[in-house]
Amino acid sequence: MKSCLVVDDSRVIRKVARQILEDLRFETFEAVDGQEALNICRNRMPDAILLDWNMPVMNGIDFLRQRRLEKGGSSPVVVFCTTENDIKHITEAIQAGANEYIMKPFDREIIETKFLEVGLV
């Protein structure tokens, strides 16, 4: 079973995203900010991360840059999932090493096609 870490400061979003990912047969766990996500990755690397941008403590883009610098930096697959929907943010995310990008609001279809795109379903 593939695993996916859901990183978002909103409890509601985490719940909705986990539900969809579990239906897609992912084992899911969650983190509330980038710092917690980094710690989790150091202990137990997931196959994928669904990553919010704006979060307290450490935001998504800082997490991603840091993650890509650390040991085994090419993993995991990172799919941004954020309300930031302009070309500047998207380009910045790709340059920082994001594999895919979801603009909120999202639905089941979008999560599924994006994870298909990165070869995880």
Binding site: I90, T91, I94, E100, Y101, I102, I110, T113, K114, E117
Partner: protein, 292 residues
């Protein structure tokens, strides 16, 4: 709706657009046609049906036909067909046409344009290979409304997230407010025209590759057969046809046969190729026997 009115509408649609609707779709017909009733200030559906019976109002005929079409489409729909296009079909045709350096591709039920623009993106990703080539992508549909949207090439955030890889969005689209528009070079690759598949399309010319996806499912067998055979006539001997995931030529016509190993991809079976004349795609085993 009165059964007689429904029967009239069903036969009207079958003869004008090919659409087959059963009595179980009565509710659908009503909900799709009521907006036209309102737009034209008619008292109700019976009056609309009467106007159709009289048959003088050409614009009404078009409106009803269009209202009954299903236009759902996505970029890179089903993904595999476009991988097959890039990895199998285009390399063979590039070799076969290396002297003419010309390729014509038809999206025969283009709807809001996602299919022809997907083809355009596949070609753009292979731009180096197509240097010095002339490539035509023609998209046609029966519905003027979807063609207008296709020409604008303007899509919602929701639409660009269903199948379009993010890199492609960044590369080939511009953000305009809440919408995303295919850039001018992408739009320039695609010509959009009105065409009803029930009537002659020989005027469009011949095509090396035809996409006819998710439209035949709405038609009855005889209509499918007729369209497929006329499409075969518009293809050279090594022409390629892509059908939708729920569609096939098997049991409908011998003019086309599946390409082995490539689901949903068909090639023409011409008199010459059945005599084993080497064609450009001869290295792809053709399962012609299956349809004989």
């Amino acid at each position: 709706m009165k059964p007689a009115d429904f029967e009239f509408l069903a036969s009207f649609l079958k003869s004008t657009s090919g659409l087959v609707i059963g009595p179980d779709k009565m509710y659908l017909v009503e909900s799709r046609l009521m907006p036209i009733v309102r737009k034209r200030n008619l008292p109700g559906l019976p009056e609309l049906v009467n106007a159709l019976r009289i048959g003088k109002d050409v614009a009404l005929t078009q409106d009803v036909m269009e209202a009954m079409t299903t236009n759902e489409s996505f970029f890179f729909r089903d993904k595999t067909p476009f991988n097959n296009l890039r990895n199998e079909v285009l390399p063979k045709l590039l070799e076969a046409r290396k002297n003419q350096r010309q390729l014509r591709i038809w999206s025969a039920a283009a709807s809001t344009g996602q299919e022809p623009y997907t083809v355009a993106m596949v070609l753009k990703e292979m731009a180096a290979t197509f240097q010095g080539w002339r490539t035509d992508i023609v998209g046609t549909d029966i519905s003027r409304e979807v063609l207008e949207k296709a020409r604008a090439g303007m899509y919602s955030q929701f639409e660009v997230q269903r199948g379009l890889p993010i890199q492609m969005l960044v590369k080939y689209f511009k953000q305009i407010g809440e919408m995303w528009q295919g850039d001018s070079s992408l739009r320039a690759m695609v010509t959009l025209k009105e065409a009803n598949l029930l009537t002659s399309f020989s005027g469009l010319g011949t095509f090396d590759i035809i996409f006819c996806r998710n439209v035949l499912i709405y038609f009855e067998q005889a209509t499918k057969k007729d369209i497929l055979e006329r499409m075969a006539k518009q293809m050279p001997a090594d022409g390629i046809l892509f059908l939708g995931a729920a569609e096939t030529v098997i049991g409908l016509t011998d003019a086309l046969a599946p390409l082995k190993g490539l689901r949903g991809v068909y090639t023409k079976v011409s008199a010459e190729s059945s005599m084993a004349k080497p064609s450009a795609l001869a290295s792809m085993p053709i399962k012609a026997a299956a349809s004989r």
